[in-house]
Symmetry: C2
Subunit: 321 residues, 2 copies
């Protein structure tokens, strides 16, 4: 490299890293800096981490499906928090790879920590990553994975508080929307299960309602509504709730008199609908909190994997139920 500053590579390294252990003469420093600028020199991250034997890279698989505003806010918060702790966050696009194959692809980058949302990894995958030098593997999902720290996101709780609420409001025939879009099962299944659990042992029934996110699908579902006898619906989230509520209203059904509609995620749009949408406010962990957990785990890789419940679900009653 910039040996054409007339100095050795080691000297360059010292100057550019401001190594305090050795003193470099001012003129030399200047020459090095000058040469670096002139040549447009930038250090080679791969070489550096190869030599160092570790990096400060925190790897996250990039979500394959477009993800809601809630989660993307959380993501960018997390990124800046980790950035402040001097980690580099990298979202890695793992195309078609599944499970352990994906884990191996991630391991090739030798990240110091890996954050895996959903059910994208199993115990074997965790083991691969750890052998590859990852000092922390953190999952964000419905259940813990052997060997990894876990941030438990209990989406059943979301469904549960909706079920309990609807029952308390006297509803007995509850429909639950299950989106047909791919990649949402990880959330929709537990939400449905939560409703079921809340209503188990009561006189209320739960009906699963597959629904694609199109006006037509919603209209068809609404057209069948009268015959279904359902008096309430948990619409998966606020966006599906808006879609379905509109279709129900267009069909002449009154919300909430004929049918109660409940969304989830507490998005702005729920407040703007008429009737205002009852929803579930979801409290995700702050990016700062998760960043600190990662940092802890990296500093002390031997520690017992931490398991923490991080999803707060609170029903926000408005006018639609």
């Amino acid at each position: 490299m910039a040996r054409l500053a007339g100095v050795s590579r080691a000297t360059v390294s010292y100057v550019l890293n401001n190594t305090s252990a050795v003193r470099i003469s001012e003129p030399t420093r200047r020459r090095v800096h000058e040469a670096a600028r002139e040549l447009g020199y930038v250090p080679h991250a791969a070489a550096r981490s190869l030599r160092a034997g570790h990096s400060r890279m925190v790897l996250m698989p990039a979500p394959a499906v477009p993800v809601g505003p809630l989660y993307s806010r959380f993501l960018s918060e997390l990124q800046s928090a980790l950035g402040r702790l001097d980690y580099t966050v990298v979202q890695y696009g793992t195309v078609g790879r599944q499970g352990d194959e994906a884990a191996r692809a991630w391991a090739e980058l030798r990240p110091v920590a890996v954050l895996v949302p959903g059910t994208g990894i199993g115990p074997q995958g965790v083991a691969v990553l750890k052998r590859a030098g990852a000092r922390a593997v953190v999952t964000l999902g419905p259940e813990r994975v052997e060997g990894a720290h876990a941030l438990l996101m209990d989406h059943e709780a979301v469904g549960h508080c909706v079920g309990a609420h609807l029952h308390a409001r006297g509803r007995r025939r509850v429909g639950v929307v299950v989106p047909e879009e791919e990649g949402l099962e990880a959330f929709s299944r537990p939400r449905l299960a939560g409703v079921r659990q809340a209503l188990r042992g009561t006189d209320a029934s739960v009906t699963e309602l597959p629904l694609a996110y199109t006006e037509q699908a919603a209209a068809e579902l609404a057209a069948r509504w009268a015959g279904s006898g359902l008096d309430a619906v948990f619409a998966y989230n606020d966006e599906y709730a808006m879609l379905l509520m509109r279709a129900l209203q267009d069909e002449g059904l009154r919300v909430p008199e004929d049918v109660a509609v409940v969304g989830a995620d507490d998005l702005m749009l729920g407040r703007l609908l008429r009737p205002r949408l009852t929803t579930v406010h979801i409290e995700l962990p702050s990016g700062r909190e998760l960043a600190e957990l990662v940092d802890q785990a990296v500093r002390d890789p031997g520690a017992e994997p931490e398991v923490r419940k991080v999803l707060g679900a609170a029903l926000v009653r408005r006018e639609s139920s």
Copy 2:
């Protein structure tokens, strides 16, 4: 490494990379594969790209602000398309760094191509990246950057077609919402400028309306509406349009009789509002198309930078204007 398969490192490399130039005996292959599995061996990406002198990494800065459904769809499409061409897409979280500093940080990773949305890079940054071995730099933004391929996203066109539409509908006092949220200026400014341009030389006036994405801010704006004399508003996008339209309606104003409301992005929610929201349908380049452009550029780095207009804007008239 796995020399404990009883063979040399070279042999391992051959086997695992399926190098066709040399023939390795079946038993040896087996032993290597077995040892690799047993040890949980995964190749070291840094070492590989260091030796090879290049990688297949396509780098994109991770958006710092939560980004709309339109753009995230485009992103994931692009990711899979590039994945199919055997590139690895990496979103790199560039925290606070600005301009050339950011470019230097990206260059450290020695990506084969860099995709930069917005105005995140200048000619110098492009030069740094190219010197660092990037064979293609592609910007997605309002204007081209010296030395880089450009996908021109002309958001002025969005504003322009709204301005023209409103004028044709007889509106003469047009408000344009400019979000107060950070990171949106890159879109809101050109959209405003487009409206101005469309109405320049006519008898219509354009008024800038700063608006935060809160109910209260919208209510305040709506309360001032009667005194403003505005008979139309371009609300930046469908979400701001929904917010503002609700506030206007709550204030007793009729849409579109008293005030026409136009959104943009053609989101589902616009179709669900009543009155149905007039909007601008935005056609982004397909991920496949962009992936091919990147691949082209990587294969032929000497070629003249390509400049392509990729943002199609078409007004979708519904009921709100």
